[in-house]
Amino acid sequence: MASSQVVKVLVVDDDVLTRRIYRTLLLRFGFEITEAEDGKSAVNKFIDGNEYDLVLMDKDMPRMDGVEATRALRGMGISAKVVAITGDENSRGAFLDAGADEFLLKPLNITALTDILKAFNFLN
């Protein structure tokens, strides 16, 4: 985990609506939320020295898509959990090959995400 006890999450999605929904859900769990609107911004946040425990990654985004961003993070040695959340059901293989830990289809199912967070030991 990142140095603090609070789970730090990076939400990566070009849709402001989606980020708003994820933010509300994750704040309920007491997580600390940072947002990025595309893959390149997400990678830059790590390059800038920020640490996150969890990344929620969309796929189709401008500048750098989620698969490419995931691959870039793993290439940098980033060990944060990456959960791909996308409407593109055909991208599961690509995401997992790039180093994502889990894959969820949009629309977000809160129960499915909660189960994953528990499996990661981010929730009691």
């Binding site: 070009d14 849709d15 402001v16 609506l17 989606t18 708003r20 929904i21 509300t24 859900l25 704040l27 309920r28 189709d60 409407g87 949009k106 629309p107 977000l108 199912n109 809160i110």
Partner: protein, 151 residues
């Protein structure tokens, strides 16, 4: 003011939105996220949706007006709109977005035009209904808990 009656009207309107297919299960998830910490969450998200979707639809309008149709660009815009519709459970809109994208893949401009007119109508109707719903909720005041309409 008859708060009980207003709440009944709001509940009835909400039920009709589901019964008539305007909204789906995803809207329940938004309601589940609303609590004391985020008491107006659903209305805020819906407001965001209509602001964002209006922008996307203006982009699509512009793209359809061009002499040379860029089906890839149209598909990208519609993919974004569909994603937003999915996020709030706007079921009928989502379905029409899917059809529009199929027309893009077939490079069927007539189909795109017809579909987009339908999307604009559905968008307008959904906006009116949800605005009425939230207005009723505001007039009725806070309720103890939301209940899902019986299926």
């Amino acid at each position: 003011m008859d708060y009980v009656n207003l709440r009944r009207q709001a509940a009835s309107l909400r039920k009709s939105l589901f019964d008539q297919g305007y909204l789906d299960e995803q809207f329940y998830q938004l309601e589940d996220l609303q609590d004391d910490a985020s008491p107006n969450f659903v209305e805020e998200v819906v407001t965001l949706f209509f602001r964002d979707s209006a922008r996307l639809m203006a982009n699509i309008d512009q793209a359809l007006d061009k002499c040379v149709k860029d089906f890839n660009k149209l598909d990208v815009y519609m993919q974004q709109l569909k994603g937003s519709c999915t996020s709030i459970g706007a079921s009928r809109l989502k379905t029409e977005c899917t059809f529009f994208r199929e027309c893009c893949r077939d490079e069927n401009i007539e189909g795109c035009m017809r579909s987009f007119q339908k999307i604009k109508r559905e968008h307008s109707v959904l906006r009116q209904k949800l605005e009425s719903y939230f207005q009723l909720l505001r007039q009725a005041g806070p309720i103890e808990c939301a209940t899902r309409p019986s299926k």
